[in-house]
């Protein structure tokens, strides 16, 4: 059967995120959309990309996407597995990571990210899982890419809580805090690609995914969106990209559904 070339917004987000990765990148990979993008890159144009998961696995090459950050296959396929203190101290803080991936519940126009709480911290209406590795990934990778589905609920004027610092209040705020890395240089959503303005650091839409309008992007964003003067269009997925992505997701779903605990069946 040939690949169905119709694709979903989630698929173009994954494919656009994979395309920006290079064969010589060293990536600090999170679970979910980042792991999908990084492994898709590895299985298409970047076979030598180094994927590092914070559980300590350096150079992992999983056949299916891990459900957790420390699935057995990550360790079994890794070049080496180091301890977690070593991972954060030598590899992340030591400046060895070229690209870190981030996502979260909320993102603002300066790419600050909230993955901690909705509502006030002391009495949250929703207690989210929290930052994990993200606060230091945001500051210590040479640059970060944010991958997030874009909705008015998630792309907000002000985040309720800054878990991971992007550009703060814009301009040279990173430098004023002594942060020397480039920060979030790309935000890839299911609608578009955004990049920070060179001066103000406000996120600016630089490319729309095929068929997406400016109005759609604005209605999914909680602040008045800026668009670049020359607005690009993301090239549509190729058949090879789509079939690789779908094979990976099918293998993953099959692998994660193989057992069922007593009493836990739905």
């Amino acid at each position: 059967m040939t690949t169905d070339t119709a694709y979903s917004p989630t698929e173009i987000m994954a494919i656009a995120s994979a395309r920006v990765l290079r064969d010589d990148d060293v990536c600090f990979v999170g679970i979910g959309a980042p792991s999908l993008a990084c492994n898709l890159a590895r299985l298409t144009h970047a076979p030598n990309i180094t994927l590092i998961y914070e559980s300590g696995t350096v150079g992992a090459r999983p056949d299916v996407l891990p459900l957790s950050i420390g699935d057995p296959e990550l360790c079994e396929t890794a070049r080496v597995t180091v301890s977690v203190p070593e991972m954060f101290a030598y590899w992340l803080q030591g400046g060895r990571i070229s690209v870190g991936f981030l996502g979260g519940a909320q993102l603002d126009r300066f790419a600050n990210i909230n993955s901690s709480v909705i509502g006030p911290y002391e009495r949250p209406s929703v207690r989210l899982p929290g930052g994990g590795g993200a606060p230091e990934i945001a500051a210590l990778c040479r640059q970060t890419y944010v991958v997030m589905a874009q909705t008015r609920r998630s792309f907000v004027d002000r985040v309720d809580f800054v878990t991971s610092f992007g550009f703060g209040e814009g301009g040279d705020h990173r430098r004023r805090l002594g942060i020397t890395t480039a920060g979030p240089t790309l935000v890839i959503t299911d609608l578009c690609v955004m990049q920070p303005d060179p001066e103000t650091r406000e996120l600016t839409v630089t490319a729309l995914h095929p068929g997406v309008t400016r109005e759609q992007v604005q209605s999914a964003t909680g602040w008045p969106v800026r668009f670049a003067e020359t607005l690009g269009e993301t090239p549509p997925p190729t058949g090879a990209e789509l079939s690789t992505l779908r094979d990976l997701q099918r293998r993953t779903a099959e692998a994660h559904a193989t057992s069922r605990p007593a009493g836990a069946a739905a």
Partner: protein
């Protein structure tokens, strides 16, 4: 020297009410059997320390064992929320839970500082994060050589560390393989350490002179607990039960369903059948 104890006796001896306990294992080697024994012995007012609370702390929190939680990422990995943790923080059920929230980098460094006998850990961390404003244990120091402002957090020194490992030999030396997380650091940082193992063997079969081995004299008690990490996993013995992690979302979402599940699968069990089927 190391004692060889039953799981019941290890928890009864070394995990009193009100103590500070760290059950570690970064996704891998999570000491579920020991967590379940703590639930069965109805411990109260514990301070639970763990980078990724995972299902094991969701269960302890939901059963009312904890007064306080020190953590850095409190989700069900790859699935979503820990609903019992959320309920305790948002609604105070079954009792209010104080939290002390860190980042992974800081907690990992704090365990290493504890193992090294230092009072605090120093790291380039928390830059621009609001966590600093909500956790009085995140402070800063200026480097005496360069003047760089660095984050500082207190060393973690639990009353007792509990970890799982592949195996111990008959002298009580313990081998860890695979994702070793902070297993070594938490054992060396804690005043006492309980290690549950898949098996106790004549020969440890450490694969390399650089294997992660903790000598018996660093460990208070060794407990033979085959399957003691399920539904987490033990590299070389059994796989992570990812389907369980997916199914836990529905079990834990509802207070009654959770409570029934714990009664049927944990409270009704003995320490020898602690593993989740």
């Amino acid at each position: 020297m190391t004692e060889f104890l039953s799981l019941h006796d290890a928890i009864a001896s070394y995990v009193p009410d009100g103590s500070t306990v760290a059950l570690e294992g970064f996704t891998h080697l999570i000491p579920f059997a020991a967590g379940h024994e703590i639930v069965r012995q109805r411990r109260r007012d514990l301070t639970l320390v763990r980078m990724t609370p995972d299902i094991v702390y969701d269960q302890l929190i939901g059963m009312g064992c904890a007064r306080r939680l020190v953590f850095s990422w409190g989700g069900n990995p790859g699935v979503g929320s820990l609903h019992r943790l959320r309920d305790a923080v948002e609604q105070g059920w079954p009792r209010p839970l104080e939290i002390e929230e860190h980042s992974h980098a800081a907690m990992a460094a704090a365990y290493a500082a504890g193992a090294a006998g230092l009072p605090c850990a120093i790291l380039r961390g928390y830059a621009g994060s609001d966590l600093v404003a909500h956790n009085a244990n995140i402070r800063s120091v200026d480097c005496p050589f360069t003047g760089e402002r660095l984050a500082a957090v207190p060393a973690i020194r639990p009353d007792v560390a509990i970890v799982h490992a592949q195996r111990a030999d008959r002298d009580g030396n313990v081998l860890f393989e695979g994702i070793t997380g902070v297993q070594k650091e938490v054992v060396l940082a804690a005043r006492r350490a309980i290690v549950t193992v898949e098996e106790i063997v004549d020969d440890l079969r450490a694969p390399s002179p650089n294997s992660v081995v903790l000598p018996s004299w660093t460990i208070t008690a060794v407990v033979e607990a085959p399957g003691g990490a399920r539904p987490s996993y033990t590299h070389g013995y059994y796989e992570r039960d990812n389907a369980f992690y997916l199914a836990w979302d529905a079990v834990s979402r509802d207070r009654d369903r959770f409570t029934h599940w714990m009664h049927d699968h944990v409270l009704a069990g003995s320490s020898s059948t602690a593993a989740v089927a």
